[in-house]
Structures are given as structure tokens and as C-alpha cells.
Symmetry: C2
Subunit: 79 residues, 2 copies
């Protein structure tokens, strides 16, 4: 079973990388870009057919490793 | 208008970061993880109400900056 994890910065957390991207897009001639916020996705393949087990496991992986829950939110989607 | 860009490695492209994550998850006690592939997402806020213009602009941003089209695929979703 495959799960897609989406990790994004919490609202209010500054995103210097995003700001740098806005600057770079501006210098490439893209105007009208108000903001960019960058996040991560993980496509996790797990050896189980049980959706509940898979979801619980992936959430635990997020809490322990894939997301920094102090500044990041995560969402798990079974595909 | 907001667009979400999802950038993932093309099939067949090795993902050493993903392999490292599988190893780390294993050492944290998560067994049964067959594979992990990492990607990026960008939430781009653009000052336009025209969906076609927004989509075309964001695709051009992907081609020029947000994705390395040699090894990465990208998908644009207007939110």
C-alpha cells in the first residue's frame, strides 16, 4: 500500500526559502508573484493491506521523523 | 489565486534521500517500509484572477526554476 505524506510549514512560520524563490522568480521576469511557501512530500510504500494499520504507522513515522511537528503540519493520504 | 506545484523525481531516477529515510525509519523500529521517495511542493500565490494566465505562468516557473525537468516531473494544481 502507498501513502502520500504532505509536510508544510505551519501558518505564521517564516519561510526564507520561499522568499528566496520569490526573488529568483522576479529576476527571471515573473512579476505578480505574491508569495511562495515550500513543503515536502513523501511517497511511502508499506508492506500491509490493512488501511488502518498503514495510516497509523505513517502518522507515527511523521511524528518521529518525517515532520518537525514544532513548525510543520503533516497530512497523510492513502493512495 | 493560489497554485500548488508538486515536484517528484521521474520513475527510474535513484532517490538516495528516500533510501536514507527507509534506513532511519528501520532504526526507529518501523519495519515493513518497502520504499520512500521524497518530493517538493510549492504553494505559489499569484496576483491574477485569470486561471489560464495563472496556470501558464506557473508552468513556465516550473520549467525555468521550480523543477529540474531532466530528472523531475511537475504537476500544477490551481486551488
Amino acid at each position: 500500500m502507498k501513502a502520500r505524506v504532505t509536510v508544510t510549514l505551519k501558518n505564521g512560520v517564516l519561510d526564507p526559502q520561499g522568499k528566496a524563490i520569490v526573488g529568483a522568480l522576479g529576476s527571471l521576469g515573473f512579476d505578480g508573484v505574491a508569495s511562495v511557501r515550500q513543503g515536502k512530500i513523501f511517497d511511502v510504500e508499506i508492506d500491509t493491506k490493512d488501511r488502518a494499520v498503514a495510516e497509523a504507522n505513517v502518522k507515527a513515522m511523521c511524528e518521529k521523523l518525517l515532520a518537525n511537528t514544532v513548525i510543520e503540519d503533516y497530512a497523510v493520504e492513502l493512495v
